[in-house]
Symmetry: C2
Subunit: 335 residues, 2 copies
């Protein structure tokens, strides 16, 4: 594989001149540039990114750590982030954490290896006890909830407001006993707790009682667990006429469980989700949901990160951005 030295020799110039040409520096005579480019072409020279990285101290790559890329929401997110990063001239390397605390911590420390210029992390498993890990000395942006401190950027969804709007929509469509399907409620600032809070607010605003029996908690936010949770709940009879699902993936599990029980949607039960993944519009019935503008969130996350990268350190203080949302009404709530 040709090096910059080889090119220099072939073009009859010094390595520095080749470097200057490659990097588009001014003050290179056109004739020289020509000669160098011709040699680059002839030898099929490609810059060695490792060497450049070592010298410059930048890798040109950012890390993205998500629980599992194989979930519609994270796939959607990753696609947007890769596109946004490309606009900033950065590549994206993906780590899967399986939503496990130790893997999230490992991702944080990996980015300390200078493997990435910065890290975008979707925390799910870490808790307040890990606040120390967020006291980082390199650029980090947390995507999602469970933030607790440290000099990191933070991009969040409008969880409470959007959940309240989604639940209110069910109320407006005539639902009186509205269930919520969510993950475990730890009382912390995780996705389920925040969205649960919005759900409660909507109930209160409508003057509806908050029946604990209508809160279905699952081990994880997967289709399988959601379906299982709803089936168990229905074993005691259909006690609800509306369901707010904390994610669209959860909603898919719920729709399946309702279908298995012969419950018609939206006639008997109305269902609404959260995320507006691509599949939601094509389900039968199509799924009403909250659309959080993934592209904007991704763009902001990358922008917050590049700002921190450009200023060299982790960034001095905490920065936050909460995205907008839009209710998308479809068949599952009587569209």
């Amino acid at each position: 594989m040709a090096t910059i030295q080889d090119v220099a020799k072939a073009a009859g110039v010094s390595a520095m001149t080749v470097s200057n040409v490659i990097n588009g520096h001014p003050n290179v005579r056109p004739a020289t540039r020509e000669r160098v480019l011709e040699a680059v072409d002839r030898l099929g020279y490609r810059v060695n990114v490792a060497a450049r990285t070592l010298r410059r101290g930048r890798t040109g790559t950012i890390g993205l750590a998500v629980p599992e890329i194989n979930r519609p929401y994270y796939g959607r997110l990753a696609a947007s982030i890769i596109a946004a990063a490309a606009r900033h001239g950065l590549r994206v390397s993906i780590e899967q954490t399986d939503a496990r605390r130790e893997n999230e911590l490992a991702a944080l420390s990996l980015s300390r290896n200078r493997l990435y210029d910065g890290l975008i992390l979707s925390t799910v498993g870490m808790g307040p006890a890990d606040v120390g890990a967020l006291d980082v000395d390199h650029p980090v942006v947390i995507l999602g909830e469970r933030i607790f401190g440290g000099p990191v950027g933070h991009v969040a969804m409008p969880n409470e407001a959007a959940s309240e709007a989604a639940t209110r929509h069910l109320v407006e469509r005539g639902c009186r006993r509205i269930a919520i399907v969510c993950g475990r409620l730890g009382g912390e600032a995780d996705v389920s707790s925040l969205r649960h809070a919005g759900y409660l607010r909507a109930l209160a605003a409508a003057g509806l009682p908050a029946d604990p029996e209508l809160v279905v908690t699952t081990e994880s936010l997967t289709m399988r667990e959601a379906a299982r949770g709803v089936r168990e709940r229905m074993a005691y009879g259909l006690g609800f006429d509306g369901v707010f699902c904390v994610t669209d993936t959860v909603a898919m599990g719920v729709l399946r469980a309702l279908a298995d029980a012969g419950v018609r949607v939206p006639e008997q039960v109305r269902v609404i989700g959260f995320d507006n993944v691509d599949e939601s519009a094509y389900l039968v019935p199509s799924l009403s949901t909250v659309d959080p503008d993934h592209d904007l969130m991704a763009e902001r996350a990358v922008a917050l990160l590049t700002a921190r990268i450009d200023q060299g350190g982790p960034g001095p203080e905490r920065e936050e951005f909460t995205g907008p949302f839009r209710l998308v009404v479809r068949e599952s709530t009587g569209g």
Copy 2:
């Protein structure tokens, strides 16, 4: 940020000894190892991957280029590949090509920048004219179809056989006018053409005529295009009682279009897909499909790639692996 030199100084040893400790080399006295580890810990030392890469000539990262990570099949694939790569001690960097030829070519040349030790590429846009681009001098594994030459590894699905089995399944369930929804048929070895061939074989074996009107081709294999294609076809009346969809994503679009037209599945029309993505089991009706064992394919792709990486060059000759498949029968074919 502390370097290996700083650690060496702090521990009162040479940099080499620190390196030996870090890399778990034998012949380091336990007491020394202790001292070094203590210093590493105290200074918060992390190895600089760029420097290591420069010296070793390996990056420890492989590239994965797919059309769009935000499609269930590619998400599923990426998840498996990331897991498989992790088992081989490798990280994965993802590029999105948007199924466009020039981006696929760019991915091939990027991997030449020594950014990756090797590349796994899902070709969709490239054609036989680009055979020259595959005459690579570094490790490459092509995933999927449209292979045409060059010293690359190749992992393929059992397209024809599985498509034939899927179509035969429809025949066995009593379908007599079976449609296929696929992408453009260029006559080349792309996914649509191969699966279309399997479909034709099954029809021939069953003594059914191959009616060109039953071939619905779409611009791209997305839910949107598939739904559009089926709607257009049905504008002239429902002329089929079974549909073989070349991917599950296509099937989702088809199911939606059928629902819009008030056609009942499987009573009036039976539908089968290909890929067995996670969502398929939860659709209503749940989708019969072909399960190609993604984990195995991913493991093989990574194994082919690491073999090529370990032997230094692109690898001498062409290697192929075609996975197994399994028919998964669910509600959409009368399960």
